[in-house]
Symmetry: C2
């Protein structure tokens, strides 16, 4: 193999690939990048047997070929280069990365041991990249990171007519977003949230993302990239019914003001981190109190209708819940008793988001 | 006590104080801030029995007084406030921090248990704040952080005529800087590097810093701030003689180019992290090689005189050594054998810096 390419293009391909398939520490082959150079350019492929990815880039190919090298060192070397052009050329048992006078040489791994990169994309239904990214920014980060309970580490993707609904919970809160969907096919599956979070970052400025589900896999494709992942068993969550219709108190407030006040008052919260929202006539009073830390209260202007139910929340979950509504007004629908509060935007856009937060017992005075 | 002040002024005073005297975790009193309000304004004081600090600020004092409250919660609350004015007022067993409708209340600690804040500054010799900060940025970070060997955690400050010499080593490298000094008094003592690093950050834009040494303490004063610290026993290091006159190879190169090349080549270094500098006629070749990682070499244009001694260094220490010379040309004076290399600026400014680096055995091929 011998090719010349724009350093920046190749560096972004290698970086995207490593983030999509970080590889298995125990197996150097499954942490490798499979480089395939032919007349069309170069394809970078990865496959750790659970996830696969392919990223293609234009290149001036002098000699076609197919080699396997450690992925992270390749990505780090390409990222560190400041020279505009780079040459990748096999020299004996090494892949040399040459730029001006510099030479970096990676050991070749056994290409026959690698399970191969995915095919390029075929059909499927589509979503807007920026809308998918906005929904995932909240939903994928709401999933649990506790690998001991895998079903809470996933995002459920389900088509409902012309909307794609994304849903995740870690048991203490749940985020439900929906985005417009081309509706050619129906899907209903649970996908690892960590991968979707990374996909969200990469598609934020992409026009269309294609989703194609097979029995045990989901393929996502955009521009020059294809990713596939094994799905999680989501049957446990698929029948979840949420009774959220009993709200007796409705509050509308500026999300940024509420966030700033929550941050300040939370400095005085008890070891559980609890902040109470006391509904008044024209303002919400945030309160926290702790035997050692002292006590705090701060008013936030709000439009309050209905009852005077005053729930308490763990402050960091409340801050997470407010984040997707930054810069806008947020509506809180509060149910009496120890039941969930639902946060929605006062003026929702194309991405419809409901954030459901479980209350805590109020702070003891 | 009852006073009104500009939030930003009080917040910066509390933040500076907490960074200078982080306090003792085990003793809430020694982690407290002593607030003294009188006709002149308010003084924030801290004293953990090893370090003391006082920071004064203007304030409109309604009622004079003296209280002790937890320092970090006060600093965090003041930092989080967006209201321009803040009122501090004793209410029962609390110090209330009031801003618009918000109220934050900290418990009062027993002021009689506190060892007291330092007096305001008297005389002493002076250095320029920006020069002192520039010297400390390199010297204080070269000291060891290993508390098990306290003498390597200090910076030795020694007046030599009209220069103040700052010196620190962690045994693998040594930084020696000197700055102009008003030479009214002579000092020679060893001061904890961690405190000096923080002082360096706070005086970067200050005109003059006053240093006054007593038998076991050093006091540093600038604008509205006074800090004192117990000194370390530096007698062990005070007689260190450095024989650095046998350099046979002199190299001049652009520090940024050398830094960037070192970063890239270091990706291929052995588990010790070693990079070799091979002196040629018109270029320095950086090399690294590792059985697993592969190998790298990159040329850097340089002016080379004398021999062809080609030392090897731990890459992160070489990067640390190059950092203070960023944006300028650096000179390396290399001694043959396993002896130190000295880095200096080709065009030194008012702050004179020598960085001394011990070599490593070259990488095995």
């Amino acid at each position: 193999m011998d090719l010349t390419a724009t350093t920046q293009h190749l560096a972004s391909a290698a970086a995207d690939l490593v983030r999509l398939v970080p590889g298995k520490l125990i197996d150097p082959v499954l942490s490798g990048v499979l480089l395939t150079a032919d007349a069309h350019g170069v394809v970078l492929g990865a496959n750790d047997r659970e996830r696969t990815a392919r990223v293609s880039r234009g290149a001036l190919v002098h000699t076609e070929g197919r080699v396997l090298v450690p992925a992270k060192p390749l990505a780090e070397t390409l990222r560190a280069l400041t020279q505009p052009q780079v040459r990748l050329v096999v020299e004996g048992s090494r892949l040399a990365i040459r730029a001006d006078g510099a030479r970096f040489a990676l050991p070749l791994l056994d290409v026959d041991l690698h399970p191969g990169a995915p095919e390029s994309a075929v059909g499927g239904s589509t979503v807007s990249g920026s809308q998918f990214a906005a929904a995932l920014a909240t939903v994928a980060t709401t999933a649990s990171r506790d690998e001991a309970l895998p079903i809470f580490t996933g995002v459920r993707l389900r088509s409902e007519g012309d909307r794609l609904v994304l849903r995740a919970t870690d048991r203490y809160r749940m985020a439900i977003a929906s985005v417009p969907w081309s509706a050619d096919t129906e899907i209903d599956l649970m996908v690892p949230a960590a991968l979707l979070a990374e996909v969200g970052k990469q598609v934020a400025h992409i026009d269309r993302v294609t989703l194609q589900a097979t029995e045990n896999h989901l393929a996502l494709a955009w521009s020059d990239t294809v990713v596939t992942t094994a799905v999680l068993d989501g049957s446990f969550l698929s029948e979840t019914k949420l009774a959220l219709s009993d709200a007796d108190t409705h509050i509308e407030a500026d999300a940024d003001t509420l966030t700033a006040a929550t941050r300040r008052v939370a400095l005085y919260s008890d070891p559980r981190g609890v902040v109470q929202l006391e509904a008044g006539d024209t303002e919400l009073r945030l309160r926290a109190t702790d035997h050692q830390a002292g006590e705090a209260e701060e008013p936030v202007k709000a439009t309050i209708t209905g009852g005077r139910t005053s729930p308490s929340f763990q402050s960091r979950y409340l801050l997470d819940a407010l984040r997707p509504f930054a810069g806008t007004r947020v509506r809180l629908a509060i149910q009496p008793g120890m039941r969930a509060t639902v946060l929605t935007a006062v003026d929702p856009g194309e991405v419809d988001l409901r954030y459901i937060l479980m209350p805590m017992l109020p702070p003891k005075v």
